[in-house]
């Protein structure tokens, strides 16, 4: 048991390695198929997973955030506005989509991280609503209710990301990047986050500088949401306020809770399964919300660990 691979897995975290592996394997899907349905579902999953990571990071510290759509909008609109100035370099845009929301999160974090529990939930919900208003009220910058359409396709190392396959491969890359960032953050600061989740006041009294880790988590969570926004805008080649509706935060929260909040695999499994299930509703996608509602109730009342947590418990119970 104390061999090198086992030690390495324990240090890096089995779930984290599995999550990264899943997104490396995901590159094979766009290469091996051209099915429109698969492309559409995979694209939504790749955006959804990244956005859900943003919720999950905050939930590691027992903070339920509704602010993800707001930061997604900042990331997405950064890319869309850069497109107006013919900035299409994918590396530059990726950096921008991460850094801009993270920068905005610094002063916002100073404001909202003073709040805990319920107040934090309510205020992040209000933040997402403010973002919608800001998008509608600044037509000069964001195109107002029309949004920004006709964004030029990005270029990666001189190649234009024009075909659906290339866009999807790039989305896989963004998801892999987001997974690596999330895994590194939550793995490296695992004990700090766990202490805050368990009992923040006790952690602080034991000398943990709580605000530092909360601020770091909030800023990185905002950056990761920005990457999701980039992925979404890159898929649609349009930035529109309706893509970042504050109520979509509920979806990402549902993915996290149903998938399981204890492990990084929870957001991955939750968003993949629920987005796949939503697509089964076909044109009646609006009814999927009811399904989410029922699933959340089942998880909260009967299977607290979510899908991943419950499977883990079942596996461990076996002799």
């Amino acid at each position: 048991m104390h061999g090198r691979p086992a030690g390495l897995i324990r240090r890096l975290g089995g779930a984290e390695i599995a999550a990264v592996a899943i997104f490396i394997v995901a590159f094979a899907i766009p290469i091996s198929t051209k099915s429109v349905l698969v492309y559409s579902v995979l694209n939504q999953v790749l955006v959804g997973v990244v956005a859900t990571f943003s919720v999950w990071i905050m939930l590691r510290m027992n903070l339920l955030s509704f602010a993800t759509p707001a930061f997604m909008a900042i990331g997405g609109y950064t890319v869309a506005i850069a497109g107006r100035y013919d900035i299409t370099d994918a590396f530059l845009l990726t950096a921008g989509a991460f850094i801009m929301p993270a920068l905005v999160a610094v002063p916002l974090g100073a404001l909202v991280l003073r709040l805990r529990g319920t107040y934090f939930v309510l205020v992040t919900f209000v933040l997402s609503q403010i973002m919608q208003l800001v998008l509608f009220e600044t037509p000069g910058l964001t195109g107002g209710s029309n949004g920004i359409a006709g964004i030029p396709p990005g270029t990666l190392l001189g190649t234009e990301l024009a075909s659906n396959q290339q866009v999807l491969l790039f989305a896989c890359g963004l998801a892999l990047l987001a997974t690596l960032i999330t895994a590194l953050l939550t793995r490296y600061f695992r004990q700090h986050f766990a202490a805050i989740e368990e009992n923040e006041i006790l952690a602080e009294s034991l000398g943990l500088v709580v605000w530092r880790y909360k601020a770091l988590g909030f800023v990185v969570s905002a950056g990761v949401a920005g990457l999701a926004g980039y992925s979404l805008v890159n898929m649609l080649l349009t930035a529109h306020p309706s893509s970042f509706d504050s109520i979509t935060a509920v979806d990402f929260i549902a993915y996290t809770i149903v998938g399981g909040r204890a492990s990084i695999l929870g957001p991955v499994v939750g968003s993949s399964l629920l987005i796949y299930a939503t697509n089964l509703f076909g044109t009646h996608g609006q009814y999927a919300q009811g399904l989410y509602g029922v699933l959340i109730m089942v998880v909260i009342l009967a299977a607290r660990g979510g899908i991943v947590g419950t499977i883990g418990t079942l596996l461990r119970r076996r002799p």
């Binding site: 339920l64 709040l115 309510l122 009220e137 009814y287 919300q289 509602g293 009342l301």
Partner: protein, 288 residues
């Protein structure tokens, strides 16, 4: 000048509606420690129940409002007893449960009534005129009913044993229970009281505004703003903040138009959080 007075009357009218919603919301939080994400859902449900009673069963409107109150209160009672009660001390879990209920109510309404808005009109038309001032009569009736409901709620909470028991539990649950108060009876009662108020507001207001799936979202957002402004768990704060929100909304929409009112309110709330995170009349509340 008439414009100024009309805006004041509209503002007070909005304030009274928001007060009914925010009082229910803060009652649930103060007593049970639960953030009710389904509050907008109960508002919407109140509207739809009243609409069904009027257009489907042909009941007179006042009776339909009463049915809507009873139906939303009953749903609140059952939901609290069967679901919230089991996880009452887990803030995040109860929040998720109410969120789930909201998703289910929204989908249910969408399935039964479809996505288009209903033709639900207030039975009393016309307007009240006093010199140059012109106020729709329906707004005055709603204002009167809302104020009566607020007064009744005040009497229940501050002049009856039920109210004293509820406030005692809000103040300190452990001591209240040690003195023999029964949460298994009182918690569902508090929840039902609050959801009934949301249903009442929905039944009264949706004929004037609109009735469609999704009308609950802005209601939820306004309730949040109001209780943050007033201080979570504070009844007086919620009522005060509701009238501030209503008046600010009325004046900004008359003089600036568009969504200026919402932006002004958001800025107010953010400033308040910097200088006084507990809200206008709030104190430190559990878990907040």
């Amino acid at each position: 000048m008439p414009e100024f007075l009309e805006a004041a009357i509209i503002g007070v009218g909005l304030g009274a509606q928001y007060a009914l919603l925010a009082l229910g919301f803060t009652l649930i939080f103060g007593i049970l420690g639960v953030v009710n994400f389904a509050h907008g859902g109960f508002y919407m449900l109140g509207g739809y129940v009243a609409y069904s009673c009027v257009s489907g069963l042909g009941l007179p409107y006042p009776l339909a409002v009463l049915v809507a109150v009873l139906a939303t209160a009953a749903l609140g009672w059952v939901f609290e007893l069967l679901m919230i009660e089991r996880l009452i001390d887990d803030h995040l879990a109860t929040l998720m449960l109410t969120l789930a209920l909201y998703l289910i109510i929204s989908t249910g309404v969408l399935t039964v009534f479809g996505p288009i808005s209903m033709e639900f009109t207030f039975p009393v038309g016309g307007a009240f005129r006093a010199g140059p001032i012109y106020v729709p009569r329906e707004n005055l009736i709603v204002l009167a009913v809302c104020l009566a409901a607020i007064a009744a709620l005040y009497l229940v909470l501050f002049r009856t044993d039920l109210g004293r028991a509820l406030r005692a539990l809000a103040d300190d649950r452990a001591v209240g229970m040690a003195l023999g108060l029964r949460p298994r009876l009182l918690f569902p009662a508090a929840f039902a009281l609050a959801t009934g108020l949301a249903g009442l507001t929905g039944a009264l207001v949706t004929p004037i505004l609109s009735l469609a799936p999704g009308v609950g979202d802005p209601v939820l957002a306004t309730s949040f703003l109001t209780v943050i402004l007033g201080g979570l768990g504070s009844l007086g704060g919620a009522a005060l903040a509701a009238f501030i929100v209503g008046i600010v909304e009325a004046y900004t929409s008359v003089y600036f138009g568009g969504s200026a009112g919402a932006l002004v309110l958001f800025v107010m709330v953010l400033l308040l959080l910097v200088f006084r995170p507990t809200g206008l009349l709030g104190r430190d509340v559990r878990g907040a």
